[in-house]
Symmetry: C2
Subunit: 108 residues, 2 copies
């Protein structure tokens, strides 16, 4: 326990959401609601395989929905954030905001 | 690429520092300079094995120094953050600050 008796902010962090690629995916989707696979890939500088695996993890936890369809003849995969995904991202943002606050206090 | 032409803040994140237990260790050490193994373990709610492994990763990258010694007859392990560790933590804080800024703008 620390002096304030509260758990350290990092101990409340959920690894599913905190991992950098998944955090990027959720943050982009929270702004855009829905994004194409190719857009996420280039924005977050991920490979197809990498993005695919992280989307599976997020979809497996109900944090995003992945829709495979077509745009004309070309396959097009669209990703949407769920309400659960938004809540999970908000919790992550709360934890890192608290971490930053302590960091700024400590170095101020 | 995004509208601002800059990489997304999560793409600049270093996984060694970002992982939640290691981020916790570095954040605590940045405040305290030096901490005991047992203190870190209880504050961050980690097991011996877990904390030991994360310290090895951090020490392997030159981000912390681990000193094994004695306090009377009892073994005592003390951990210090290095200058490189402080710099790496500052970069992480910069990335998550930017992420939060965008999140707040998007939901504001």
């Amino acid at each position: 326990m620390n002096a304030e008796g509260a758990p350290h902010p990092t101990s409340t962090i959920n690894d599913v959401v905190h991992q950098k690629a998944r955090l990027g995916i959720l943050a982009v989707l929270a702004e855009a609601d829905r994004a194409d696979f190719t857009y996420l890939k280039s924005l977050l500088q991920l490979t197809d395989g990498n993005l695919g695996r992280h989307l599976e993890v997020l979809a497996g936890q109900g944090l995003v929905q992945v829709e495979k369809g077509y745009s004309g003849r070309r396959p097009r995969t669209r990703v949407t954030i769920t309400r659960t995904g938004r809540q999970a991202l908000e919790e992550e943002m709360r934890a890192i905001r608290e971490l930053l606050r302590r960091f700024d206090e400590g170095s101020g």
